[in-house]
Amino acid sequence: MRRIRAAAVGAVTLSLVLTAAACGGGSSGSGGSNEQPKTLTYWASNQGASLEVDKKVLQPELDKFEKETGIKVKLEVVPWGDLLNRILTATTSGQGPDVLNIGNTWSASLQATGALLPWDEKNFEAIGGKDRFVESALGSTGVQGKDPAAVPLYSMAYALYYNKKMFADAGIKKPPTTWDEVTEAGKKLSKDGKWGLGAEGSNLSNNIHQVFVLAKQHGADFFTADGKADFTSDGAVAAVKQYVDLMAKDKIIAPGNAEYAQNQSLSDFAKDKTAMVLWQTAAATFEAQGMNKDEWDVVPAPVQSGEPGEGKGTNSMVAGINLAVFNNTKNIDGAKKFVKFMTSDAEQTVLNKEYGSIPPVKAAQEDAAFNTFALSPLRETLATSAAALPQVPEESQFETVVGTAVKELFADAAAGRAVTTASVKAKLEKAQQQMPKK
């Protein structure tokens, strides 16, 4: 009996822990102070090949900042998978870093929490003004018409990477510029265990990036102008179907890619198993996987027809990392100084060079390092034909529910089940109903 009672107590407490896991408490004040002017905590996102690499890249720069200003920066590099939850926890508890990295697609969602310092005219003045930044990068810093919740730090864009030798062997003369050409080339390339195009079917964010761009090309968006979820429009359905059909109907994506989520498609590319991938700034990864620079080339991502441009010619989302300041920092002046330092022309050049990304600061883009064969198409895309993901507070939910729908459709395709307009629409309808009611 005693044992049973003990077990009962254990059972009850265990269940309590469970419930506790789903909530948190606490509140935080707004607006920063200068209580601790000599220190800053910085959460950097994992950009390099490993957390160690990031520390090695960033520490010398932070030392430079300390030398200039006397402010010591405590660095923590946070892996991607943990970042959003860490930010949420910090938001709830009020115990966050002073300055942090956010994925630029989360800008509007995090802006809605009110935890991030708004970048009004005055704050922008403190870091040299809004005009220093590239327009498209500024487009993903928060809801339009509101002061941005963050400042662009690194920019990236999608492009089509292809294997030169595999193309030559298949007799393909020039890299594809439209989806029809991609499919045509893909069919020539998909044989003998090799495949035309790579995908990451189980990576929710990547799924979103791809179908968002395709929806734009079909003249659709996933949100209405007043910010309501609109996942089931003809354009959105056509976009999702077109993407999954690359595996289901055209059969130029290997079925195995349906379970990829850890950048395995890049390894396949580096091992000559896949001839094309749609990716953002992949050069460093290819090199790390032992692929020589002269084995691949990169061109702007495909469109339905014609030239890439705004609207139906959109061929990339604006990818990148933003820098934000936590509203309740105890060193508001230092935090702004740090943002100014990180977005200065000189630092932008150093950091973006290290990470293989593109500076969102116009002046820094002039550096020859960003004018290579690998980066020029990306820079061009960002300047002319990339669009920011919907800047609505529900963006984060959208990534989850629609990203999951695409993942499930890929699973269907991989299992040989039919992917039809009706099945796509049903999945998207379910996704839409999972969005919180406003």
């Binding site: 049973i4 107590v9 419930t19 506790a20 909530c23 709830t92 929710l204 939910q397 989850t400």
Partner: protein, 331 residues
């Protein structure tokens, strides 16, 4: 004959006939005697409740609020939602409720299979290990390896092994043995349930084994010797001595395995990432997705409270049922 008197003797007879009655009276005396240990447990119990009760109450409060990203910084200001969150959770015709009930049923089936298999393998291994043989120590250590490994490292290794194109499992069953026409998927689609079950049993049975070993060592050897003298075979010894003696151990073991398995979050999360395939969408991961991935903390909390209620009811019924059973065997 009086109508009023009739039931009384009847009751008395029932009491007399009920062999449990006398021990019950004895037990209440014992209960008074063992009051002291409970008193000593009280401080720890109070602290436990404080640490867990406060978050639980907050969780319940949150379940009645419309807590989204707009209010997360100061959740106390989130507007009241009444029973809306619960209504959404149990509206089985709409996607959220439908997904919740599907996930719940999946979890029930998964838990029944996993606990059953863990118990069976653990018990069989423990009985087997009672015999003294060469290499017993080594085997015992080997059996406990899954229990000793960090969960994340172990499960991520399984995830690699279950990969369709590069995993060792398909390499063996498809490439080497040729059992399938094409390499099956294990981490997406319907097979994901099997994958989850395999990993869960692999991870869970050593605990059952460990507890059963401890339980078996408490059974005096001379009972077996006496039984053997009376002509009882191995199977009879297991059925008549081992299993009944292990009853209290089993009660706790099954309950703990049930709660752990039902609430298991790590295994599906590491195997499948943020969005598990429908076939293997366990309730804990499902609630996590509802709260933390779609930032709908109110609904997530409502689901947690529903789950808590379910587990409390099941645990209560289980304890009631098993202690009744125990009374019967006492007799």
């Amino acid at each position: 004959m009086t109508t009023t008197a009739a039931p009384v003797p009847g009751e008395r007879t029932a009491e007399k006939n009920n062999p449990g009655a006398a021990p019950r009276r004895r037990r209440s005396g014992r209960l008074r005697k063992i009051g002291l240990p409970y008193l000593l447990l009280l401080p720890a119990l109070l602290l436990e409740l404080l640490v867990h009760l406060v978050p639980m109450i907050i969780g319940i409060v949150v379940s009645f609020r419309q807590l989204t990203q707009f209010y997360i910084r100061d959740w106390a200001t989130a507007p009241w939602a009444g029973f809306d969150n619960y209504a959404v959770s149990i509206d089985f015709d709409a996607p959220v409720g439908e997904a919740l009930v599907r996930s719940f049923l999946t979890t029930c089936l998964f838990t029944a299979l996993s606990v059953g298999l863990c118990w069976f393998i653990g018990t069989a291994a423990a009985v087997f290990m009672q015999e003294n043989f060469r290499g017993r120590g080594f085997l015992r250590t080997l059996f406990l390896v899954p229990y000793a490994l960090p969960v994340y490292a172990a499960v991520i290794t399984w995830a690699f092994m279950f990969q369709r194109d590069n995993g060792i499992i398909n390499h063996v069953i498809h490439d080497q043995l040729g059992l399938t026409d094409s390499p099956p998927f294990w981490l997406i689609g319907d097979n994901a349930f099997v994958t989850l079950l395999v990993v869960s049993v692999w991870k869970g049975w050593p605990f059952a084994f460990l507890i059963m070993m401890a339980g078996l060592q408490n059974i005096p050897r001379d009972i077996y010797e006496a039984a053997a003298l009376d002509g009882a075979g191995v199977w009879q010894q297991i059925r008549r001595i081992t299993l009944p003696s292990l009853r209290p151990v089993n009660q706790v073991l099954v309950l703990v395995l049930f709660l752990w398995t039902f609430n298991d979050f790590n295994t599906p999360f590491v195997l499948f990432g943020k969005a598990a395939p429908e076939s293997a969408d366990l309730i804990s991961l499902h609630i996590y997705q509802s709260s933390f991935q779609t930032w709908n903390f109110g609904t997530g909390s409502a689901m947690s409270v529903l789950l808590l209620l379910f587990l409390l009811v099941v645990t209560g019924l289980y304890l009631l049922f098993t202690s009744r059973g125990k009374k019967a065997t006492d007799a």
